[in-house]
Symmetry: C2
Subunit: 364 residues, 2 copies
């Protein structure tokens, strides 16, 4: 079915086209018709290529959700993260509730204290206002802090990233309130300054969390504003000296939601700073690679076919390698696939050829 | 001077070579002489290209030091990290020593307590056995925990990475003790399993640190082994409940060195786990991109010159884009540089052409 569709769409592409006019070298130098040959590398085809502009970066920090669809299966989904967190907190609360008599310290309500202790442990804040007081509870706390770290560090950061990206659109709109700006402009603006907007976003969120936290703690826990701020800093950095912590029921309910959100925000802020640094470092590396002088060794290495000249594609592949963006292995893998599809060994792929190769792959 | 050298080395490369035999399309399909055309993409030139195999990844986790030289200026050096850490700790100790009477808790020796408090704050362990007791000290602690986090998170992780890489060679040698293995084999083995070795390395180091910490704390701080282990876990995860902490002079001296090392090891372990996950995800993305069926839209997008067929270089560039390894922007930047060098507009670069272009760039 797929094959039929392909052949219908492309039956006009006769095979004799395989002698590519653009690939043939210019008969004489300085001829005009070579211009398109080089220009084609700049052509930015619309949808299919744009959809592939998702940089699969280390932090999983990617792109707008609409660009993600194609690669969605390689990221843990928001749903998966929520389920994992719910299971962890549910299990943690149950465990610590069952051993609540082996935990000493300032207590309020049994179940609430269990959630609170679980959150304080998971985020590694560890005030010490509630501490395990028997061998099993101590070992249980050890187990929960390690798994909690993994959960906080690896998965919630992705969730925060996801939420931040959703807000970016609103932020860009707000920043360009006086200009007429369409969805495409917004997308381009975000694409160009991805990390900067994410950083700005998280800073605004963090300041809000600090403000709300300070006011709440100062009021509800009846401390001054300085102590409230000190408790906020001690919490969001996961320092948790424990001389100031949440000791009322209302305070602990607030803490259960506020602590994970704010600690993750701080971690995310540092990650974005690192990303911004890496990006600018990467940019200077690219600039350096592009503008540095080519030595005889470079020339020899770039001239893959040993014909004494470097063609545009050789130049592109060499520079991409030098930037560390691609490796020889990448190219080898792609060429393996190319040769599999190139059934008539012509060195080029026509639509009908691909159709045939894919059909035979399905059969076998 | 550079130009003269180039011309001496390459004066045999006459310009008429610019009609690249390999770029010309085969006169007829199924001809034998097109094989080298495709094979050349697999050619792995030795030194200059190998030196570019450094993946500039997010964590700055890179490669063996010997591969780094070329990109060294884009990484903060080990020396810079050490200086920064020394300045931070020196300044912190001085500050907290000066305000030592505004810090309450279990005290030993004035200067030692100041270093200990600084380390416990910087790593966000925050036992709470020493806590600031005045408004200025509280704000000072807030400032130090934020800068300390940045220092620990962003810079020391690089240092740990550097140290781990130095040990990798010994690890590989140890694992292949019964086989004869040369330096090249070791390098290849490390290149292929980089993250796995780093993970193994950090695990061994961490287990050692846990063992030493537990024994030391149990003996010196006179706790049982369970409490010692509990204190170790509470410290290395930066949880720091504070019910068990270092209260003797000897213990605090040990803590000053042991806490930063072990907390960074734990953080590094989680980073490597994330890296391993990202790597395997990236590998499945590459596999998926390579083996998925090409749709008519893909074909149209890949066929940059609209000649109805896809050549090997079009295929490579399209697939690299689809994998997210390169973007249209990357190619545009490289083509800008190519056109600058291609002074005779022949579409290919000869050695003498590069020499002339670079000489004129220096003049202007």
């Amino acid at each position: 079915m797929d094959a039929t569709k392909l052949s219908l769409v492309f039956k006009n592409n006769a095979k004799q086209h395989s002698i590519s006019g653009l690939l043939s070298p210019p008969p004489q130098p300085n001829q005009k018709n070579i211009a398109p040959r080089r220009r084609r590398y700049r052509r930015c085809r619309s949808a299919p290529i744009l959809a592939n502009f998702v940089p699969p970066d280390k932090n999983g920090g990617g792109s707008l959700p609409r660009f993600k669809s194609k690669y969605a299966k390689f990221h843990p989904s928001f749903k998966q993260v929520t389920i994992l967190l719910a299971v962890y907190l549910g299990l943690g609360t149950l465990c610590f509730y069952l051993v609540r008599h082996q935990i000493k310290g300032k207590k309020t309500h049994g179940l609430l204290d269990a959630v609170y202790f679980c959150v304080v442990t998971m985020t590694t804040v560890g005030y010490g206002d509630l501490v395990p007081n028997s061998v099993p509870t101590k070992l249980l706390a050890c187990a929960f802090v390690f798994t909690g770290m993994a959960l906080c560090g690896l998965i919630l950061i992705k969730a925060a990233d996801y939420l931040v990206e959703k807000q970016e659109v609103h932020l860009v709109k707000a920043l360009h309130m006086h200009q007429k700006i369409g969805p495409t402009d917004i997308r381009n603006e975000i694409e160009a300054n991805r990390v900067k907007y994410k950083l700005l976003m998280i800073l605004v969120l963090l300041l809000l969390l600090i403000l709300v936290g300070t006011i709440f703690i100062a009021r509800v826990e009846k401390m001054g504003f300085v102590d409230g701020f000190y408790c906020v800093c001690s919490s969001i950095t996961t320092l948790g000296y424990g001389d100031k912590s949440f000791s009322t029921e209302a305070g602990r309910v607030f803490a259960v939601f506020w602590i994970p959100t704010s600690t993750i925000c701080v971690a995310q802020l540092f990650l974005y700073l690192a990303e911004l640094y890496t990006e600018s470092r990467q940019r200077s590396l690219v600039k350096w690679v592009l503008t540095r002088r080519m030595t005889p060794e470079d020339f020899e290495a770039a001239d893959l076919d040993d014909d004494g000249v470097i063609s545009a594609d050789e130049f592109i592949i060499y520079k991409l390698k030098e930037m560390g963006k691609i490796s020889q292995e990448d190219i080898s893998h792609i060429m393996d696939e190319f040769e599999k599809l190139d059934v008539d060994q012509s060195g080029t792929l026509s639509a009908s050829e691909i159709m045939r190769a894919q059909a035979s792959q399905t059969e076998s």
